[in-house]
Symmetry: C2
Subunit: 455 residues, 2 copies
Amino acid sequence: MAQKPSIPKGTRDFSPAEVVKRNYIFNTIKKVFRLYGFQPIETPAMENLSTLMGKYGEEGDKLLFKILNSGDFISKVPNELLDKKDSNKLTPKLSEKGLRYDLTVPFARFVVQYRNDIVFPFRRYQMQPVWRADRPQKGRYREFYQCDADVIGSNSLLNEAELIQIIDNVFTQLKINAIVKLNNRKILAGIAEIIGEHERLTDITVAIDKLEKIGIENVNRELEEKGVSKVAVENLQPILALQGSTGEKMVQLESILAASEIGMKGVEELKTLFNYLQPMGLNTGVELDLTLARGLNYYTGAIIEVKTTDMEMGSICGGGRYDDLTGIFGLPGVSGVGISFGAERIYDVLEQLNLFPQESPEITRVMFVNFGEKEEAYCLPVLTKLRSAGINSEIYPESAKMKKQMNYANKKQIQFVVLAGESEIAEQKFTLKNMQTGEQQLLGTEELINTISKS
Amino acid sequence: MAQKPSIPKGTRDFSPAEVVKRNYIFNTIKKVFRLYGFQPIETPAMENLSTLMGKYGEEGDKLLFKILNSGDFISKVPNELLDKKDSNKLTPKLSEKGLRYDLTVPFARFVVQYRNDIVFPFRRYQMQPVWRADRPQKGRYREFYQCDADVIGSNSLLNEAELIQIIDNVFTQLKINAIVKLNNRKILAGIAEIIGEHERLTDITVAIDKLEKIGIENVNRELEEKGVSKVAVENLQPILALQGSTGEKMVQLESILAASEIGMKGVEELKTLFNYLQPMGLNTGVELDLTLARGLNYYTGAIIEVKTTDMEMGSICGGGRYDDLTGIFGLPGVSGVGISFGAERIYDVLEQLNLFPQESPEITRVMFVNFGEKEEAYCLPVLTKLRSAGINSEIYPESAKMKKQMNYANKKQIQFVVLAGESEIAEQKFTLKNMQTGEQQLLGTEELINTISKS
């Protein structure tokens, strides 16, 4: 026998049951995106390496999957380069294309490429797989989906508010309890400015980020080690000690940041955002979290992160405002704000909490048992009628043993089995068996269709 | 300014309008697949090259997109191999993975890999992109979707019948007039046998295939050139001259093939299939076409091809029965039958015939004009209500010039615009403008929602 086939490490096959569950997540998110006026785009799996390289840092460049050039690729490589056997230098000679690493860079490329056709503000969503040559480990894959929505070409904070409303809508529908954590890059800049360490914004944020984990003493030590002055660390203390509700924290922040223009701008933005959110009546709590710093080098305004309160789990959605997404492709000064749902983690949450629905429009609901030629001919017109009524149905394609057919229905988790043997045919009826309850009913064609439609 | 960004040749970006149209096709096909009890699977974009190589012929191997190994890939290549600069020999040293070339080989791999978990007969559908390093040309892309449905592990001809019923369902829903052409590999084998040229089946079929194009004289000349004997060519004449309806042709075939066991088996299969189809009341015509030979080396029973009668266009769907799909992965003797829809060509047909629906659940239906802070606050709760009612809606995110906002709504083909300025607020009403008719109505909140819901 041939070698047992397998798939590349870090990739996955999805069985019907898994696809149905994944589609439940994707479809829920898509529907909400559309409710808010977002429209889908799709970009190719392969991008030119010139589009991808240098956009994700040196580490990212290494994690790009590169496509080997077709044809006689090696003849174009100079001998002296080959002799050096330097993989990094050879790569550009052997490969011109790579698999997309995220949806953000292809989106930026798309916006610049079609800027004359796009009507701004451009509300787009995109849900496609991305590929990363990461070391595979639990929960980290080399092929996974991203689910992004962005508004580009509008500075209004109403966009931030609506994205948070989308987050609320999605998690409410999925029945996941969540909390939205909010910060603003301008507030972080203001804090650094106020304590006189404008230049050390990143170090300060990295340290603050660890507050819960390592405690205030260790944070202070780390700051001093990084070169933050003693005075600055002292001045930082009241900020780290901020207590109370988001409203209370905002009041304190306003007085602390009074002397920083950028800091006050950040406070102003947060206030406007909370003013939008307040009348929206969200189910999901939204709170200020000064330790939130994700994508610091990238975001310029709001920073958003969502966690579930149902279990320990990394963030299940995140995003923020960026002011120069398209600058890398020669179109500077276009502001945008976006969010991205972590479908893989959301899957794990739903699975662990047993929140996937039992029913799905994608599942087969009815199977006709096949007793032989005559019985099959009796069933086929009714099968067609069920399908015309929009009910996913099938007939076992041959008159196999009853046990085999019932086993098939069971394993496929089919809800109803229809049996029609000699006695049913004589009466012009069908026996409908509910596979969950075991209940059986003898029904005419119309009753059969009605009973299944209504259940 | 930076270089204008672009995408690899043969690949495509899809704008929102295009994605919506493509999804209309994909969703129509998917829904019908599900109605018939087919369930989705998904496989990774990348497969091991050992899975892909040798499955598509020598030409296919060349057209596989191969992934360059990560890390220091060149250090593992022996110097003497590098010195030879032979791309074919180097490829296996530089690449272990490739992008899937079709959905059939990954499906065969899937069936073998999970054979203990799968309940047979396995009715699966799969709709994912595939990649081929073909020379790009009109209508041929390097990345395109395949839409496949297969039943594996059942010999029943009811499967063939249901697949044709699916074809009929799909094209009826898409409003494409189509004709299903049917043949059977066993009949072709029977013909070759009857004329004493059992070995030259392929040559004979290739020649017959050209009958309409080049005429009988040229077909005969080609056959003789290929080495088919004069007697055989003579014996072939009555078969090529078969006239009349499918029923009439079948009667004639039965007498012509009487002496060929395999030929008679093919006739028998076709008869059974037509007996299944007859009471199904299909909209689509189904006819016997002895010149149909697609995938000859692959199919073992039914051969199916679908053409539209609305215009000149290659086949828009095709398929057939194969008896040894999984043998290549060490699981011989599993019979299957499948069809594949050509989504790209179907797109072209719908586009040319203007058959894409105007309405789509994916399109934004309502836009609120933004007149400023007060008006925005007045609109937002109603916007939320519209969304709760499942109506895709948005508000222009800032109080830009009226012309700009209306232009946005127009370009996005939004059906309704809602205007609420000072006078509307005073009356607690909204002006609803139908962008197609220009008609305006002054409505309260509930009336507004009802009017939009019903239209």
